[in-house]
Amino acid sequence: MELIKKFEEAARKLNVKCLQIPSDRLESDLAEYLKGIGVRSVVVDSDRLSLSLFEHVDASEADCGVSEVRWGIASTATLVIPMIDGNRRTTSLLPPVSIGLLRKEDIVPDLTTSLNYLYRKMMKTTARPSSVVFVTGPSRTADIELNLIVGVHGPRELHVVLC
């Protein structure tokens, strides 16, 4: 699909690893992937995964946080993570490695569409989430001599699982 390709291309530019995993192999393939990148402890905000072979700890101690992404933006490889349905703020924020689980069909073309979507789906109603975050790549800064440094207060690495 066009949008998936665009998303992957934008992700590549940000050094965000994208991997496609069929949904029936999510548990096994993701576990293997995480082992491969040296993850031993996790914090997981997803009903679809148990990741039972890993140590489950607090976000402040975990090597890796796994979050459910509600939808993605193709042009910028942005992940939209609302703090509802068990998603917690620190899962995608404290651990050095962040994993986002994104359904392939949940990708919108651009930022404007995403804002529109966010408003209509979640913000318009008075029962709105307390917080939603758009995540684009790992944390970064250019505050010292405008040198781009990746990995500041938020995660150093972001991986997106397209499933």
Partner: protein, 457 residues
């Protein structure tokens, strides 16, 4: 505070500053240009976007009171508390009161120019609270005891060596640390501060009246941490940051990172609707929004300057400005620097202190070209100059007297011509080594006129 002239002189003599600024602003200009070029390649009408952004902002300003009221209602119905602070003093007092009422000992702060404006850190420190800036650039200048020198990149005036030396002085770290090492060191040092803080203070880039939503853009993750981990979140922002709806956000948000850092979108954009919901285990228990006036109403009510409140604090005008890139932010002597700083600082600090700023410009309009909301900064600068000149205590009294002297002669043409003749003879004598025309223009003209008369006759 040293005089503006002195500050400028010192800045111009600082070779290192010059190097850092030139490189920094050039890179920022290039990034912005690249970002806008990319948008156009995606089929976006960037000029149309700027026009739309301007229109949106001016419409909001037309009914500012209405939208601020609406914002307050929405935030309150989300479970937040709103405080309208008319002065810097009252804003600080309010924060101190919340801190006192809630046994707050330690505070983490994410980037907020408004909190610089009201000297909040100073007040909190005086009251015995532990306050730490968490944005890397702000942390650096907090360590150095300085003010930010740029709206977006507060430590742009410092080189890597400056920062490494600073860390060495403060913490005994190695002077040869790289930017990556300094950043990693800062991450480790500040992480426990986030986790232990009682209160997080942030700014806001936009405040949406319809839904009471605060929008915060950032790259480091410190604003997310500041607004998620501590049990109390206090957001401080100017009243002019209010927008009406998510349509307005669509018009404004895409222009902000592109203009500020050349990004299509920052690493994180947070949309905050107040305290945590009852089913949540994380997020602030209390949310306070302080809406600051501190002279903004005055600027708003002045039709000549209302446009200045359209500013979305992107810093593009600073990066474009040839004056800023020569003298840097500190020479402006205020919280806000560059072209927009030159417009609003005289309002905020008074013309006695800041009256020279609007004159320190060649009106080249690079700022107006860079501004995402198309604020006509050069016109605002001219209006400022006009205001300042009309005051009795003109700061440019030398100019005033020089013109008075000239006009005394100018309305007496015979005396003027005689004096001009003497002056030109004096110049020829003084600069006799330079090849000057033997006759002055007027002499040539007169002899030509006379010879014409003779021919006609």
């Amino acid at each position: 505070m040293k005089s503006f002239h002195k500050r400028v002189q010192e800045a111009l003599e600082d070779k290192d500053l010059h190097g850092n600024l030139t490189t920094g602003t050039r890179q920022a200009r290039q990034s912005r240009a690249d970002a806008f070029e990319w948008m156009r390649s995606e089929g976006l009408d960037t000029e149309g976007m700027r026009d739309e952004a301007h229109r949106v902002k001016m419409e909001i300003l037309d009914d500012l009171d209405v939208w601020v009221d609406r914002l307050e209602q929405s935030v309150v119905s989300n479970g937040g508390v709103v405080y309208r602070a008319s002065t810097a003093e009252s804003a600080c007092e309010y924060v101190l009161q919340i801190a006192k009422d809630n046994d707050v000992d330690s505070v983490v702060k994410s980037k907020s120019m408004v909190t610089e404006e009201i000297d909040l850190n100073e007040r909190l420190l005086e009251a015995g609270l532990d306050v730490v800036e968490t944005d890397l650039g702000e942390y650096i200048i907090q360590l150095a005891g300085e003010r930010p020198s740029h709206i977006v990149a507060p430590a742009i005036h410092k080189s890597l060596h400056d920062v490494a030396d600073l860390y060495h002085e403060q913490f005994g770290t190695d002077r040869s640390m790289s930017a990556a090492q300094l950043t990693a060191w800062t991450r480790r040092r500040l992480r426990p501060k986030f986790l232990d803080a009682d209160m997080g203070i942030s700014g806001a880039n936009f405040a949406i009246a319809e839904t009471g939503t605060l929008v915060i853009v950032e790259n480091e993750g410190n604003a997310r941490l500041t607004t998620s981990v501590p049990r109390i979140h206090v957001a401080v922002t100017g009243i002019e940051k209010v927008i009406r709806s998510w349509d307005d956000l669509q018009a404004l948000l895409p222009l902000l990172p592109a203009s500020a850092t050349g990004q299509q979108v920052t690493s994180y954009v947070s949309f905050l609707n107040g305290p945590r919901l009852s089913e949540e285990t994380e997020g602030p228990e209390q949310f306070h929004l302080i809406l600051l006036d501190n002279g903004r109403k005055e600027i708003h009510d002045d039709p000549d300057f209302r446009e200045a409140l359209a500013c979305i604090r992107c810093g593009a005008c600073l990066n474009a400005c040839p004056v800023y890139s020569q003298i840097g932010g500190h020479a402006y002597g205020g919280v806000y620097q560059g072209p927009i700083g030159a417009v609003i600082t005289p309002h905020m600090q008074g013309i006695k202190v800041a009256g020279e700023l609007p004159f320190a410009s060649s009106l080249c309009s690079a700022c107006a070209d860079a501004c995402p909301v198309k604020i006509d900064i050069p016109t605002l600068l001219i209006r400022q100059r006009d205001r300042i000149n009309r005051q009795d205590h003109s700061l440019v009294s030398f100019e005033k007297w020089a013109f008075r002297l000239w006009s005394w002669f100018a309305i007496r043409p015979v005396i003027y011509r005689r004096v001009a003749r003497l002056v030109s003879l004096g110049i020829k004598w003084k600069f006799s080594s330079v090849q000057l025309e033997r006759k002055s223009f007027l002499e040539e003209w007169n002899s030509l006129k006379n010879s014409k008369k003779q021919r006609v006759n």
